[in-house]
Structures are given as structure tokens and as C-alpha cells.
Amino acid sequence: MKARRVRPRRRWGTVVAVPTAVARPWNEALDDALRGIAGGLVFGVPLLYTMEVWWLGQTVSPSKALIALALTFAPVALLMTAIGFRRRPDVNVTEVVLDVVTAVGLGLVAVAFVLVILQRITLRTPLPIATQMIVYEAAPFALGAAVAGEVFGRAANRGRLQRDDDEEEDTAKNATLADLAATAMGAAFIALSIAPTEEVPMLVTGIEQPWLLVLIAASILVTYLIVFSAGFTNEEARLQHEGLIQRPVPETLVAYLVSLVTSGALLWFFENLDTAAPTNALAQAVVLSFPASVGGAAGRLVV
């Protein structure tokens, strides 16, 4: 077997060779949070691109939004009891409550962040309206956060076992192609349901250029976090993964480009770009590339 070079694990911009006793709980807790956010994005991002859900949040009464917030806890608690996004062998009621509250809280924060970068919530949006929009978008997000560890843990594990089986044929070229293909497939899987809708051009009309740059940065960040920081899979093994572009930064950037091109191709396929000026077409691709990046990163976890 060919010897592979093991690089030190890099997290949050610093090299962490051996986590200290103090740092480990925080790293694990942050990994849990990132995993929850990533899972929430995979499940919740299509609804973040659905105008009817924005409008629902803007039109319901505060009392109904309050009930919706309360009801969000029930299915999340059910999923937490059955699965949980933390890795505990036996859980008691207190721990389930802690996990549920964390998942719902993460959902509210992450959804607010996405709605802001999509400019669905701005400084001019009244606070009660913004709050109601966040509550309605956070429900599916929290469900995704609840099942994140289970779904992606299994997927990543299956991918690793499959990789071990195919190790004889695992050349750098094959590994690179497999990653690129998985990124494109994952990106298409999520973006396919959003590309033909009116939401993409509608979002473009409401987003100014600086926010498009923020959206690109957020897409790249999400891609990096899901694959290299969220602890879905063994990151050391991932760093050893052979391939022509498989260093975290180039891999992340190339994966984003693949997601962006996939987004453009889907928009073209659904004839959303037919009458668009080149800058508008690029803006549409950038807007769609955020959910596509989430899908692309999730796709790469299984490779």
C-alpha cells in the first residue's frame, strides 16, 4: 500500500495537532453546532427560497407565529429522542431538552442570517415581521438540524467504506473526478427544485451588488464548513484523500465554481436566462449557487 502523508488538522485557521482537555469540549460543541446548521441548511434551504413562506411569515398574526414556534419543538424533540445530533449513548429528559433548545436556537439564528444575506430582511423590515419570517423558516431548519448527525454521519461512513473497497483503483485523477461529480450531483439535487421558480429572478431584483459578494462568501464558507469543519466525517482521512485539488482551500473554491456553473446550467435549462442580460444572468447564478453549494458539499461527504 502506498504511504500517505498525514497533515496536521487545521481548524478555525490554527493548526491543532492534539486538542487540549479544555479545547476539546468546545471543539466538539462547535462541531455539533456546525453539523446542526449544515443539516438544517440541506433540509431548510429550499424553503428559504420560497416566496410563499416569506409571505406567510409576513401575513400571519403574532399569536399564530407564537404557536408555530411552540409547535416546532414537538417534532424536533421527537427526532432528538430517536436520533439526536449529539452522540450520547443514553439520554435523559434534561439532555433532550438541551439538544432541542440548541437545535431550535441554531435554526433561528442561521435562518435569520440567510434571510439577511438574501435581503428578505433588511434594516427597514419591521422587527415583528422579521421575527415571524424567521420563525416560519426555522421550523424545517430545526428538523434538519435534528437529523443532521444521523443522515450525514451514515452517508459519510458509507462513502468511506466504499472508498476502502475501491482503494486499489483510487488514483488521484479518479478521486478528483469523483469529488467534482459528487459536487455537481449534490448541487443539482438541491438547486433543481429552485432553478425553475420565480424566486431566483425576484431575489436578484432585491439584492444589491455588495450583498451578492456576501452571498458568494457565505456559499464558500458553508462549503468549507460542511466538508472540513462540521465533523460529519473523519477530517484527517479527508485531508489524506488523494486528488489533484484536495487541499481544503483549493477544493472548496473549485467546489464552489462547480456549484456556480451547475446553477447557471440549471437556470439556462429552465429558460430563466433567455431574456436576462449577462450581469443579471450571473447574479441569478450567484443567488442559486448558495443552495447549490450546500447540496454540493453534502454530495461530497459521501465521496
Binding site: E28, R124, G153
Partner: protein, 136 residues
């Protein structure tokens, strides 16, 4: 060891201080969200139906045509859908009418629509108003 254990590392025993800290922050976020909703509810926000304010922002001649930008704002307490905006330009010899429909306007939300006239709006009386809407 289960699949999940293999995929996500060793199972943990009890919540750590870090997990409690993140949990408390999450609880504070939920409490803040609930507080906003309760305050809004007790203030009885539901009141005025959708009401719309129109403001002509600019008139610009582009080529042979005159582009009139109009900001439409919902100053009511409820949202309106399919908001129809009518622009009427009364000239000495003629009256030109154009309408546009805005899909949705939430309370306090505004959007800008543009009407295009062949005639110069300065040569006549321009009026812009919302003529109808639908409940979402």
C-alpha cells in the same frame, strides 16, 4: 459499534460546559423571539387594512421615452397582494393611462415601479395611485 458511532466518533456521556453554554445562548435567542411576538400580540398589531402611499421618485428621459420611477409603500398594518398601481397622465388633448401590479407588499414594505410614457410628464398632470389589492 454502530454506523453512527463510526461516522461521527466516540459517543459522549454527559453534556459539557461548552454544550450548556451554547444551549443557554440558544435559549436566550428563543426567549427573545418569543418576547417580540408576545409584545406584538399584546400591542394588537392587527388593525388598519393595507394602505398605500405612492411617491414619484424621478422622471428621466431615456431616448425618446420618459421613465417615471414611483415608490409604493404599504403603510397599513396588513399585507396586500396583487396591488394595482395606476398612473394617469392628463395632457391638453389626451389622457394616457398605464397600470402595473405588484405581487405582494407586506406592512411597511416598499417597492419601486417604473412607468414609461412617450409624452413628457412635465407637459401634463401626472397622478399615481393604488386602485385595488387582494387579501393574501
Amino acid at each position: 459499534m454502530s454506523d453512527r458511532d463510526e461516522g461521527l466518533g466516540e459517543p459522549r456521556s454527559k453534556p459539557t460546559a461548552a454544550e450548556w453554554t451554547i444551549g443557554f445562548i440558544a435559549a436566550a435567542v428563543i426567549a427573545a423571539v418569543a418576547a417580540v411576538l408576545v409584545v406584538d400580540w399584546s400591542a394588537g398589531r392587527a388593525g388598519d387594512p393595507p394602505m398605500f402611499e405612492t411617491t414619484v421618485k424621478s422622471v428621466e428621459k431615456i431616448g425618446q421615452l420618459h421613465h417615471v420611477e414611483v415608490e409604493v409603500r404599504n403603510i397599513g398594518d396588513e399585507a396586500g397582494a396583487e396591488v394595482r398601481v395606476d398612473a394617469e397622465l392628463e395632457l391638453d388633448t389626451d389622457t394616457v393611462e398605464i397600470d402595473q401590479t405588484i405581487a405582494f407588499l407586506a406592512p411597511d414594505e416598499d417597492t419601486t415601479v417604473t412607468f414609461i410614457f412617450e409624452d413628457d410628464p412635465d407637459d401634463g398632470d401626472l397622478s399615481v395611485e393604488v386602485s385595488s389589492y387582494r387579501e393574501p
